[in-house]
């Protein structure tokens, strides 16, 4: 499905994140670092990348978790005349474990995950805003948080 060039770009994208941000791990508990980026793939199409760096031992949950267990990650995009969402927010294949406490399968990510949303542009330049609502757990605790973002496609 992915063309070679796209893959190469994606690799570049991930590499960029690895080098770009000086670590500032001073906060007591902030196990997920979010980063947002955009990539134009044609005159009228772009992809929004939503990347989470997850500290060792913590789980960030998939968008697809059944009720009665951990809360799924939810991304809400602010609607705008400048663009239209195309399809669903894509996520890589999560790790799935049966969790005894919830008596159900739970899908989550470790270390790092990049969500991708394809959009159709109605203007050459568009600003995309939204919010990620998420929770993370490790073996001893959980926390719930949200992160707003605004990115520009040019």
């Amino acid at each position: 499905m992915f063309k070679k060039k796209t893959v190469a770009r994606l690799v570049g994208f991930v590499l960029l994140f690895l080098i770009a941000v000086p670590s500032a791990k001073a906060q007591l508990l902030d196990p997920v670092k979010w980063q947002f980026a955009t990539k134009k793939i044609s005159d009228q199409e772009a992809v929004i990348f939503i990347k989470a760096d997850i500290e060792d031992g913590w789980h960030l949950y998939s968008q697809h978790v059944n009720e009665g267990g951990p809360l799924p990650t939810v991304v809400v995009f602010t609607t705008s005349d400048d663009y239209l969402l195309q399809g669903k927010l894509l996520e890589p294949k999560p790790i799935v474990h049966f969790e005894e406490m919830f008596k159900m399968d739970v899908a989550f990510f470790e270390n790092q995950v990049v969500f991708q949303q394809k959009i159709k542009l109605h203007k050459p330049t568009a600003q995309i805003k939204g919010i990620v609502k998420y929770m993370v757990c490790n073996d001893i605790s959980c926390l719930q948080d949200e992160k707003s973002f605004a990115v520009t496609v040019k």
Partner: protein, 344 residues
């Protein structure tokens, strides 16, 4: 006579230019020098707090972005080289606390994170601290010590309130309060300062020895529960949620203590932070918790935030018959040990 007119004219001109100059200085001007393959790329600035948004094309290896100065803040930068060649960008922040000119030396291939920024005092301080903290990355205590010393040395700078807001949670609450108190009022009044102050309040009211103020929350049958009604008992307050696995793992431990001591003056209060009432009720059915259950308010009304410093779940407090906090986060067998110590 002529001389005098000239003198007056000169004075007037001088005054006018001073006025004009000071008007001219109500902006923050970013002057960039760019090396590397910059042709055809531009630099963007944005700020989600102030709403600033601007960009400039790089010409002859230079760019200029000028923004009105409103409040001390952090502007974020990126280059279209990042978005087009590297496929994405991580915004680079520059702290700004007054009008003036800030120089940026940028190698467009290496990106902003490797750039040199001069002309902003708070930015220089912040960068210095981050380097220092980076060197002791894995030592949480040492980081807190270094941060404290840094704050004491620089407590007039906007960088300090920015850092306390972002990373200050690692410093114990009393020290943090003293540090915050030493800041000038104009820093305290910034939104960063207000956040620091409210976190200090929450952390303090949930400190050991503090008496928990009365609060009222709803039980599953929608009747009210008042903390006051438990006066005279030792109360274990357990913050949990239906979606929190580690919370559920604690229930058997709590139950063991509850069954052994509930008729001796010990009570358990479960406060769920579930936003979804249905999920809360279902979890109460699924898990065997024969003690008092209530659900917290949402948003700023949440007891978890205003009266307790709950940032993770589970979080628990043990309060004595006068409502004073005598222990925190007793997990696993620790609760049983503590209660034995009190009653046996």
């Amino acid at each position: 006579m002529m001389r005098l007119t000239q003198k007056i004219a000169c004075t007037v001109l001088l005054l006018m230019s001073t006025v004009l100059l000071s008007y001219g200085q109500q902006t923050v001007r970013f002057e960039g020098t760019v090396t590397g393959p910059w042709e055809g790329y531009s630099i963007g600035l944005y700020n989600n707090v102030t709403g600033d948004r601007d960009s400039a094309i790089i010409e002859n290896g230079k760019f200029v972005i000028e923004r009105p100065f409103t409040i001390p803040t952090r502007h974020l930068f990126y280059s279209t080289y990042d978005t087009k060649v590297k496929g994405g960008y991580a915004p680079f922040g520059i702290l700004v606390d007054k009008p003036g000119t800030i120089q940026i030396d940028l190698d467009i291939e290496k990106g902003f994170s490797e750039s040199k920024v001069s002309g902003s005092a708070p930015h220089a301080l912040y960068t210095g601290l981050m380097e220092e903290l980076g060197a002791v990355r894995d030592d949480e205590q040492e980081r807190a010590v270094r941060m404290k010393e840094w704050v004491e040395k620089n407590n007039e700078s906007y960088a300090v309130v920015f850092v306390l807001d972002r990373f200050g949670g690692g410093i114990d609450v009393d020290t943090r309060a003293t540090l915050f108190e030493s800041l000038p009022q104009e820093l305290k009044d910034l939104s960063e300062g207000k956040r620091v102050a409210s976190k200090i309040m929450g952390d303090k009211s949930a400190a050991m020895g503090q008496v928990v103020k009365n609060f009222e929350l709803k039980k599953p049958d929608d009747t009210s529960f008042n903390l006051e009604s438990l006066k005279g008992k030792y109360v274990f307050i357990d913050f949990w949620a239906s979606w929190c696995g580690p919370c559920i793992q604690e229930f058997p431990h709590i139950k063991e203590v509850y069954e052994a001591y509930q008729d001796k003056g010990f009570e358990v209060l479960g406060i769920s932070t579930d936003k979804n009432k249905g999920a809360w009720l279902k979890a109460l059915e699924t898990h065997d918790m024969p003690w008092i259950q209530v659900r917290d308010n949402e948003g700023e009304e949440a007891i978890a935030l205003s009266q307790f410093a709950v940032t993770v779940l589970p979080t628990s407090y043990l309060i004595d018959p006068e409502g004073r906090i005598i222990a925190k986060d007793l997990r696993g067998d620790a609760l049983m040990e503590k209660i034995k110590e009190i009653f046996d």
